[in-house]
């Protein structure tokens, strides 16, 4: 038992039996974190559901202030980034480090495109006084379409949910840059690519959350 570590590759830490066990443990740990993330966003979705049950008219009116086209484009941008992350993992598995770096770079760029679109959406809304909670101060044009006493609540939910999702995208970009640099230093190969795999899981979850946010916020008629 004591000497098994001598025969293992350098990346295997001494408390693991072998590389596979280390890989599976890391993945399990990430999934437990994702469970936590799902329940964290779950609390916000729960708030959304309660307020939608209470004020169904508010949600159908307020959604008119959100731009379906930009929301849809951002959905496709995130799906594209999920695809490139999956391709990055595939490259790492096949020992194609150049492909890994290219796919990571495209993912970072797509994530930035998502944030830029989101920035312009926020900027446009705040310009019209469509702000959350007590900052709600809409222009007469907005009030003509959306005259609901609880309108600020919809946008509190909108800003908190998309804002925290946006923070996750920013964290994801940081992780991808870290992976890109490490891949450049030759840290990853087909035998060891655990950080790429579990960052991929995180990124797909960020995509999954948006898959639900998009129809629930933008596509209410």
């Amino acid at each position: 038992m004591a000497n098994h570590s001598a025969s293992q590759p350098a990346h295997v830490q001494h408390h693991f039996v072998d590389s596979d066990q280390q890989f599976d443990s890391a993945k399990l740990g990430m999934w437990v974190f994702l469970v936590n993330e799902i329940l964290f966003f779950g609390g916000l979705f729960c708030a959304y559901i309660i307020f939608r049950v209470w004020y169904p008219d508010l949600f159908s009116q307020a959604a008119l202030e959100l731009n379906k086209v930009w929301g849809g484009i951002n959905t496709i941008v995130l799906i594209g980034s999920s695809l490139t992350v999956a391709m990055a993992i595939r490259s790492a598995q096949r020992n194609e480090i150049k492909g890994l770096r290219i796919n990571l770079m495209i993912t970072i760029l797509l994530a930035c495109v998502f944030l830029v679109i989101k920035y312009f959406e926020y900027e446009h809304k705040l310009h019209l006084g469509i702000a959350p909670g007590s900052f709600w101060n809409p222009t007469p044009e907005v009030l003509a379409v959306l005259d609901h006493p609880k309108a600020n609540i919809f946008f509190s939910i909108y800003y908190v949910m998309t804002g925290i999702h946006g923070l996750h995208v920013i964290v994801g970009i940081g992780l991808m840059i870290w992976l890109y640099i490490r891949a450049g230093k030759g840290h990853f190969n087909s035998e060891y690519y655990t950080p790429v795999e579990i960052t991929g899981l995180y990124w797909h979850l960020v995509d999954l959350i948006w898959i639900f946010l998009f129809p629930l916020l933008y596509l209410i008629e």
Binding site: L28, W31, L39, I50, H204, F214, P215, I220
Partner: protein, 106 residues
């Protein structure tokens, strides 16, 4: 997990497969936008939108996140999270839906 040495190959998804899933997700996104502008009556429109979102979520979880090829325990964690989410929503709605008056200031 057994302590005996087990050498299993990690599943490598084919590029075609991944592009197919990506394409399906884009098609479903366009579909959900198109469907949202159709005059579908109240409960059905949200059911349609959520059904499409659930299919998309399944594709991402099963193939991009690799649960389809992965050890079953990770799938169990995801399903467990969803069960507890549904429990949280159900119990909260059992309160909020059956109040005579909405909580003041909410």
């Amino acid at each position: 997990m057994s302590t005996t040495a087990h050498k299993h190959e990690h599943h490598v998804a084919s590029a075609f497969q991944l592009w197919l899933i990506g394409g399906a997700l884009v098609v479903l996104t366009i579909l959900t936008v198109v469907v949202s502008s159709l005059p579908i009556p109240a409960p059905l429109d949200i059911i349609t939108a959520l059904s499409i979102a659930l299919v998309k979520a399944f594709l991402v979880a099963a193939f991009f996140m690799g649960l389809y090829w992965d050890v079953k325990f990770n799938s169990m964690l995801l399903i467990g999270a969803l069960v507890f989410f549904i429990l949280m929503v159900t119990v909260t709605l059992l309160d909020t839906m059956y109040r005579n008056d909405i909580v003041p200031s909410f």
